[in-house]
């Protein structure tokens, strides 16, 4: 019986992230449009976009290989699995112990690896420029991410997200300078990983500074739908990650019962809305930076992570 309910909760989680991801992106777009006094498309527009892409035919380049055709599914599956392992409305999900935070980051790395390869498959310059810049950004973001994980693990004594969330939700964590630094660093890494302003602009096409969009330029139809869906999921994943580690307020603890889960789910959607609003506000207020400024941006994230870790060593109470 316990196993059944565990499977149910895990299944609900997997469906929930799938259903909410396009809505979150639509919400961010809507807020961004409203902030610059445009009407903007409906928050449900991403669903319509996905359906439209699914109905369209795929135009494949003449020399595209099998790798180009399987990459959208591999990428989507890897990101979905990663998103399913991050606690959203409840901790202690059935498969949480399958992979800790390091493995979740590596799963996203697998997705990126295949996407970067697909960018090089057709042999156009746009794919190449996108792939080469994407791997550069990843090379800078991953060390920063590891130091953030390190900082969290020092505080919570675990890299297992459920344990971390349970620990953070307990009352005796309090406010800590090092956790604040880790939060800022994680937000910076999340902006870079999701290709948001100021690192990359998700709304542009055919601009020499774009990264992610250049890489997937050759994709169309259902393949593009899969990749777009993956990108929506990744944004949701990072926001859930920040939420469960730094703001585990009202998150349903394992085995807490349906009511607590329902409250957790409601609060989770509220958290997503707040995060989406802040993201839109930040993106409207900043300009995109030049590609070769990104190392400085991510270098700052790395330094913050390192400082947070060192502060923890200096005094356990920070």
């Amino acid at each position: 019986m316990v196993v059944m309910s565990d499977i149910l909760v895990q299944g609900v989680q997997m469906l929930l992230v799938l259903l909410l991801a396009p809505l979150l992106t639509g919400f961010v777009r809507k807020i961004k449009a409203r902030l610059v006094r445009r009407q903007g498309a409906s928050v449900f527009q991403p669903y319509r976009d996905l359906l439209r892409l699914l109905r369209k035919e795929v135009v494949l380049a003449d020399n595209a290989s099998w790798l180009f055709r399987v990459t959208p599914y591999i990428t989507f599956a890897a990101i979905w699995v990663a998103a399913a392992l991050v606690p959203t409305f409840a901790t202690g999900l059935l498969f949480n112990w399958t992979a800790d935070l390091i493995a979740i980051v590596a799963l996203l790395g697998s997705a990126r690896f295949f996407l970067a390869l697909a960018g090089m498959d057709v042999g156009t310059s746009f794919g190449g420029i996108g792939s080469s810049r994407e791997v550069m950004i990843a090379a800078l973001a991953e060390p920063a991410m590891l130091l953030i994980v390190f900082c969290m693990a020092l505080v919570a004594g675990s890299t297992q997200l459920s344990t971390v969330a349970n620990f953070m939700a307990s009352s005796y964590v309090g406010l800590r300078v090092s956790l604040g630094m880790a939060l800022v660093a994680l937000v910076m890494v999340a902006l870079a990983e999701n290709g948001r302003i100021p690192v990359d602009n998700p709304a542009t096409h055919l601009e020499l500074t774009m990264v992610h969009e250049a890489m997937v330029l050759e994709y169309s139809g259902r393949h593009l739908a899969m990749i777009e869906f993956g990108a929506f999921l990744k944004l949701l994943l990072y926001i859930s990650l920040i939420g469960c580690v730094f703001f585990p307020w009202k998150i349903g603890l394992s085995g807490a019962g349906p009511l607590s889960y329902a409250v957790g789910a409601g609060i989770y959607i509220l958290k997503l809305a707040v995060a989406g609003f802040l993201l839109a506000l930040f993106e409207t207020a900043t300009a995109k930076m030049r590609v070769f400024r990104v190392p400085q941006f991510l270098g700052a994230a790395l330094m913050l992570g390192l400082l947070g870790t060192l502060l923890l060593f200096v005094s356990r109470s920070f």
């Binding site: 369209k56 799963l107 790395g109 690896f113 498959d121 794919g127 791997v135 990843a138 130091l147």
Partner: protein, 681 residues
Amino acid sequence: MILAVVIPAVVLQMSCVAALLAIAAIALALSRSRRATAVVYGATLTICVAALFGSLRWLVGEMANFPANSSDVILPIGLPWLGAHFRLDALAAFFLVVVNLGGAAASLYGLGYGHHDPAPHRVLPFFPAFLAGMNLVVLADDAFSYLLCWEFMSLVSWALVMAHHREAGNARAGYVYLVMASFGTLALLLAFGLLAGPAGDYGFAAIRAAQHTPYVATLVLILMLLGAGSKAGLVPLHVWLPLAHPAAPSHVSALMSGVMTKVAIYGFIRVVFDLLGQPSWSASVIVLFLGGITAVMGILYAMMEQDLKRLLAYSTIENVGIIFVSLGLALAFQANGLKLPAALAFTAALFHVLNHSFFKSLLFFGAGAVLTATGERDMDKLGGLIHRMPLTSFVFLVGCVAISALPPFNGFVSEWLIFQAVLQSPQLPQWALKIMVPAVGALLALAAALAAACFVKAFGITFLGRPRSEAAETADEVDKYSLSAMFILAALCLLAGILPGPVIDALSPVTTEILGGRMPIQANEPWLSIVPIAESRSSYNGLLVLVFITISASLAVYFIHRFASHALRRGPAWGCGFSDPTPAAQYSGASFAQPIRRVFGTLVFRARDHVEMPAPGDIRPAHLRIELHDLVWEGIYAPLANAVGFSAGLLNRLQFLTIRRYLSLVFATLVTLLLVLAIWS
């Protein structure tokens, strides 16, 4: 009454070595006949498989129950008062598994690949002898035999490097290798001399029993880092490696990169962990620092490289760095008596040794297949091979994913274990280590991310895109033997990735023997997941990750094919209105590396891009020149070579003297020596 004759395990292993040497002798006799290739590689394959199963049985059967057990033999050769000691313990058994697995795979590959060799008589006798040499180094149990076998291994591998000695650059590679190998042996000789002490007992058992002063221990550590480190490819002693490994035939490159560097690491572990006794924590600082630098420098070099085999050789340097970081962590924990984290770090190092031997052999085999099919190692003349060589490209992709430390393959598991060991660093009492270990962890993460970038480049430029040369356009898939060797290794990469628990358990006798501690028994964990310390801290389950990815990908495919449009049209690639006129205008290796060259290279390689843009209206082509400096070579080796050349030039005058002057020189020397003797006493 039944007479049971039990043959000691070490005797079985030694007879395998003898058989390998016999094959080498037969190969010498046969080498010019046409069937020699099949005979030699077939026989080597059989012996290696036998030796592999022997050592594997010893490791997981015998040693799992009696970790302190060992099997000894003394042969009446070598130094008259010492004899030649050989011993099979858990550590040796593990490295024998690595050596013979690599040997078996390389022999299987050689069955097909060897037929393309223009001069098989230069390879065939040395190939089994090389394997015999590596087996012997691992089995040796006294300093004299160890050094003798080490030199044998070095010389035979030198002969293999020089197999195609007429090709440009190979003679230089062989020369640099020989110089560095001699230097390494000199360092080892001094290290063993210090260990044996004035009494001069060269048996490992006596060295292990003796007490070593901290001064001697530090000196031996540094000498081992120089000796074993130069063979393994630690920066800045790595210069020979990217020259020599690619120069050999590809299956030998695989052995040198995947296996011989591991034999060097074995030497380091044997001396520093086993013979020296309790380490000091300051030793670990040196090892951690060198390992971290090696990992990042190795992969940055690889990123800048256009030659596929040299790229792989540089990536070996990176992996050696990762292994040394892990060994450094084990030293740090062991010095502070933290048995469990030490066992974790040590297991991670051994696991990575095994993994690297899998995927590096696989990748070198793949590079060899590309070389066979196209005659090219230069990535900028390849491309589009995924269409012409689908099977090779598939296994090469598996190797690339595995080496980039991506789940669910094996490279990720060992790196994950290393990160778990890094996360144990708050337990260390020393401040220097507390601060250093997270920084080294960040270096490892940087190396892992750069490795992914590097192998996106290696696979993307070589196998994807459009063919950049005629040879790449007309390439054909390689033979069945080569393919089966690659597929077996690819399967092992996946297996070790999804079932890491049994591997960790199999390694526990080694950690028990060397460190006196072990990781928790993984076979007891539910669902085949691995748990380094406790489940509440961290756990990973590669099998479930694979199953989840498969299920969700299948679900996605099912729904797409059930509900979405099936229409598919082929068309020309979209070039934004300006299609690339020639495949040469595609992204090349150098252009793919440009962002990383700009971010890291300006510091590490003093990289500069010089663009010569003609004035508007001028029809001269524009030029881009990339300037890179190998600072290690220019800063250390070039001045050293100049100094040696200069002094040799001065001494050269002594060669052209008259008899009269030589006689007076002899006389002066004699008098001086006698004077010294007189004053000394």
